[in-house]
């Protein structure tokens, strides 16, 4: 008898499951019409994904609006390129004049969400002396991470239990979340990147 009841319950639940896509979308449509003027077509704030910071706080990208964002995708157990990417980000930050510093955030997105828990990201931030609010470390689902990489044109692949191949791209977004600059490669001259940040930041 218990099983029969359970089955009846499932039959009732199934249609609800199948319509969830529709419901979610109409929500998005409603929301979009309200905020259309605020979020432009090319803005990353159109992405609905929710991320977790190194302080274990849930965050949507659009909560970062108003700041210039300098973004890079890394993973904390990486020993080859990532330390150099971190160094590049630090070097860029150091060259931004004090008058502009308040309007710029530096965002690291993990491509290894399974390993990079908020606790691990926090430890990584402290280790690299990046534990104040201008440095943001984010972790999302595998799927949202893949999607965000697609937006940044960052390619990555897991090549062993511990390591990933990934492209090294630093991206700059303006206050509205629109991509304004990308630089590919490691330890490359970051003059242009810094100039773009200074030009964009208030």
């Amino acid at each position: 008898m218990k099983y029969i009841i359970r089955h009846i319950l499932f039959i009732l639940v199934i249609p609800a499951l199948f319509t969830s896509c529709k419901d979610k979308n109409s929500e998005v449509i409603a929301e979009a019409s309200v905020t259309d003027t605020a979020i432009s077509e090319l803005s990353i704030y159109n992405l609905p994904s929710v991320w977790t910071t190194q302080n274990n706080e849930a965050i949507e990208l659009k909560e970062l609006n108003g700041d210039v964002l300098v973004m890079v995708m890394i993973y904390t157990s990486c020993t080859a390129a990532c330390p150099r990417l971190i160094a590049d980000m630090r070097a860029i930050e150091a060259q931004v004049p004090d008058s502009k510093k308040g309007n710029v955030k530096y965002v690291f997105i993990s491509i290894d969400p399974a390993t990079d828990t908020p606790q691990r990201l926090k430890a990584f931030a402290i280790e690299n002396d990046m534990d104040d609010e201008k440095w943001i470390f984010l972790r999302g689902t595998e799927e949202d991470t893949r999607e965000f990489a697609a937006v940044l044109a960052v390619n990555y692949k897991k090549i062993s239990p511990m390591d990933f191949s990934h492209s090294n791209i630093i991206s700059v977004f303006n206050q509205k979340g629109e991509l304004v600059h990308q630089k590919e490669g490691l330890g490359v001259n970051n003059k242009e990147t810094v100039e773009k940040i200074v030009e964009t930041a208030r």
Binding site: I29, A32, S160
Partner: protein, 260 residues
């Protein structure tokens, strides 16, 4: 949750056939196995779990029905972040694919975001590169036909034919799994197309460019002779998620819920 999913499968299964693995409509089951991809993990074999795959690529008329249900994906309304200007470029307006495109030809000029959303709204997803390649290495009679001359000749012959994107679905061969058109009409999006680490720009195509790619030494073609597959990987490595291209369509897959 597991019991929950299992029960759904059992229910559907009971309704449809009464025995065997539940098979969603117009999908077939690709049974699990191991294969060595062109770009392998240190040339190691990859295990692919069983999955259901659409028998045909998604067509123009199916996609039209989708945009009518979800207007944010109409030609004039899609956000540029999610699809570039070529999105549905052959369509004369939002609600028609015109008279140049066949209703039962694969839909093309579709971005990755659009393809992904379409599948999600069917309760499905895009296949991974491994799933796609695994299913597509079959010919009519063999699960892995990659070493057969006829298999490679068919694909290379297709690469030389023009405008195959406007041919009807089902007009190529039915493969070992019961799937049509993996080769012969259009190329197809995969969920992790951006895991291919070769640059599409010829100036940047320096082998093992460690400045651009971390750990790139580990990524190399395990069988460069497999030119047909090499072309697919090179193509995937050169495109971006908002690109919409004339010979690039998609199909969806679904997990098999009751794997032993």
């Amino acid at each position: 949750m597991n019991l929950f999913q299992k029960t759904i499968v059992i229910l559907i299964c009971g309704f449809l056939s009464g025995n065997g693995v539940a098979q969603p409509q117009n999908m077939v089951t690709v049974m699990e196995g191991v294969y060595i991809p062109l770009y392998g993990v240190d040339s190691m074999a990859v295990k692919v779990a069983s999955f259901h795959m659409d028998v045909y690529p998604v067509t123009n008329s199916e996609y039209l029905a989708f945009v009518q249900k979800f207007p944010t994906w109409k030609k004039s309304q899609v956000k540029r972040l999610f699809a570039n200007k070529s999105y549905l470029t052959g369509w004369p307006n939002d609600d028609s694919f015109g008279d140049q495109l066949q209703p039962n030809a694969p839909v093309t000029n579709i971005s990755w975001f659009a393809a992904k959303k379409y599948c999600e709204c069917q309760g499905k997803r895009l296949p991974t590169i491994d799933e796609w390649e695994y299913a597509a290495m079959a010919d009519e009679s063999t699960a892995d036909a990659r070493k057969k001359k006829s298999y490679n000749q068919f694909i290379l012959g297709w690469y030389e034919r023009r405008n195959t994107y406007n041919e009807a679905i089902g007009s190529t061969f039915k493969n070992y799994w019961g799937i049509y058109d993996l080769h012969g009409l259009v190329w197809e999006w995969t969920s992790d197309f951006n895991s291919v680490l070769i640059s599409g720009e010829s100036r940047k195509d320096v082998d093992k460019d460690s400045n651009l790619f971390c750990g790139s030494a580990a990524v190399g073609a395990s069988d460069l002779m497999n030119y047909a597959a090499f072309m697919r990987y090179a193509f995937r490595g050169s495109i971006k998620a908002n690109y919409s291209i004339k010979n690039l369509g998609f199909r969806c897959v679904k997990d098999v819920e009751d794997q032993p």
